[in-house]
């Protein structure tokens, strides 16, 4: 088993997974924040746009987005994100689709954080004579972010696992290498465990981190 796997670059494959996760997380946090601002804004049109985004992308399979990114976007619509390299194009599209898909979940996480703030907090801030900016900065947003930590953590963990979906467009990451190994060497429990434990190593610390963060920063009510 050990010598079989030494023929393959397992760490390299997981490095691909990690890169996808990092870029995907950054992208989805940016997109999710924008959409959350839209959904929380007092302007009806913005709210509709935000709601449309969330309903659309939360209900579409990530697999479909990935497949469409290369077969549809690149081959037919001609939107190539890296004209010099097929692999680079697939990788960049995978990051974009991970961001778009998980952005919808980040938006909902942020929104649920805002919803944990009782209306009395805003009313009290206003009654004290704080301006809009002051009550946002000192009263509402700090509480909202703390309330959003746990769901954001879950979303990021889900994103790490969902990077495997990039295998459908041939990005070099863990699930891709696993398919290759199984193709060549057969499907053994050892191969499965190596890759499964790789993901446990990636997601477990994240889970512990976010759980302790959300506990430590929890707003006592």
């Amino acid at each position: 088993m050990g010598n079989v796997l030494s023929n393959y670059d397992i760490l390299g494959a997981f490095w691909g997974t990690i890169l996808l996760s990092i870029f995907g997380t950054i992208g989805s946090l940016i997109l999710g924040t924008i959409v959350a601002v839209l959904r929380l804004s007092p302007v009806k049109v913005f709210q509709w746009l935000g709601t449309w985004y969330v309903n659309t992308f939360r209900n579409t399979p990530l697999t479909l987005l990935m497949v469409f990114s290369v077969l549809g976007m690149t081959y037919i619509l001609g939107i190539n994100l890296d004209p010099t390299d097929i692999k680079g194009n697939a990788f960049r599209w995978a990051v974009v689709m991970l961001s778009i898909y998980h952005g919808a979940f980040i938006c909902e996480a942020l929104r649920s954080g805002v919803n944990t703030v009782p209306a009395g907090q805003a009313e009290a801030a206003r009654a004290m004579g704080l301006t809009f900016g002051q009550s946002m900065r000192h009263v509402l947003l700090p509480q909202a972010f703390r309330g959003a930590i746990a769901p954001i953590g879950s979303t990021i963990i889900a994103l790490v696992k969902n990077t495997t979906v990039a295998v459908v467009v041939g990005v070099a990451e863990a699930a891709n290498l696993m398919s290759v190994v199984i193709e060549n060497e057969g499907s053994s429990i050892g191969v499965f465990l190596v890759f499964a434990i790789g993901f446990v190593i990636l997601t477990l610390p994240l889970g512990l981190l976010f759980t302790s963060l959300s506990r430590r920063l929890a707003v006592k009510r």
Binding site: P42, V43, V45, N59, V67, Y101, T164, A175, F192
Partner: protein, 304 residues
């Protein structure tokens, strides 16, 4: 003051004017984006009538591709939710057991399968089934999809069972114990029935996840699933882009309606004064953190 949002005051005249301007800007940006997309599609010749017409005029499109695809997706999801329910019940109860080793084993199983991506399990299961011939060869892809979905979603359901029981008022269990029931009887006849009702909205939300994840069958050659079918449709009718868009609309409609159903069930239950677990509630690792937040690594509806 009717706070529609905690963040903003009711708008005054100046704010209302500002909102109107922003609304116009918003509409303009949205229309510009739509125009850009349509122009891009036009430039790639994707708006031609012959590509879109078959969806309304040609019965074969629905009879031979989309409806079988929908059925393939729903079939895999239905089998998986039933098996995952059994798996979840067994290990959920296992984690609540008073026997420590049973609890440990259940915890390890649940945490492990929740941390491993569904696709990894599918690829592995597919590899095993193709070599071992446990199932008829034609059944291998479906079996692999169902295996992956069952293990992952079963663990999520196990967590739901556990957090459902923990979310009940402590008095329920204490009352049972004080009238002389054993812990097992308390769980069976008092806590589980209430927990399972409370789980219902979250369970429906989980079904959305399963439906979406069944599209992963694309990678293990489960060709009767909606995504694969629309790919075939796209190459046979030379309308790849429209085929994917229609498939996406089908997925979105199906899942959107299910999510609405979950919300409806949740409202109904809580109107009757029942504890509920939210369909899209945040869930991180610990259900012991009392009433509200059941959050798991995969978590109902979050990302997966």
């Amino acid at each position: 003051m009717s706070t529609q949002s905690v963040l903003f005051d009711a708008p005054g005249p100046r704010a209302r004017r500002r909102h109107a301007i922003l609304a116009v800007v918003g509409v303009a940006v949205a229309l510009a984006a739509l125009y850009f997309v349509l122009r891009k599609m036009q430039a790639a010749n994707q708006l031609q009538g012959f590509m879109w017409k078959p969806f309304v005029t040609d019965r074969a499109v629905w009879r031979d591709y989309l409806l079988p695809g929908l059925w393939g997706t729903v079939k895999a999801a239905l089998i998986s939710i039933v098996l995952a329910g059994v798996f979840g019940l067994v290990f959920g109860i296992g984690r609540l057991s008073t026997v420590a080793p049973v609890r440990w084993v259940s915890s390890v199983v649940v945490e492990f399968f929740r941390a491993v991506p569904v696709l990894i399990m599918m690829i592995f299961a597919f590899g095993v089934y193709t070599r071992s011939h446990v199932f008829a060869d034609a059944l291998n892809p479906l079996a692999a999809v169902v295996t992956g979905l069952t293990l992952y979603n079963g663990s999520v359901i196990a967590e739901l069972v556990r957090s459902g029981v923990h979310a009940l008022p402590a008095g329920q269990g204490e009352a049972g114990l004080s009238i002389g029931l054993t812990p097992g009887q308390v769980l069976r006849s008092i806590q589980l029935p209430q927990a399972l009702t409370a789980m219902l909205p979250a369970l429906i939300g989980q079904f959305v996840t399963i439906l979406k994840d069944s599209a992963l069958g694309y990678q293990v050659l489960y060709s009767s699933e909606l995504l694969s079918q629309s790919k075939t449709l796209g190459s046979n009718f030379a309308n790849t882009v429209p085929a994917y868009i229609v498939a996406a609309i089908l997925f979105i409609t199906m899942n959107y309606l299910l999510s609405r159903l979950a919300v409806y069930v949740e409202r109904r239950l809580s109107r009757r004064g029942r504890t509920t677990l939210h369909a899209t509630g945040p869930v991180l690792g610990d259900a012991d953190q009392e009433p509200a937040p059941p959050v798991s690594a995969g978590s109902a509806g979050l990302g997966r």
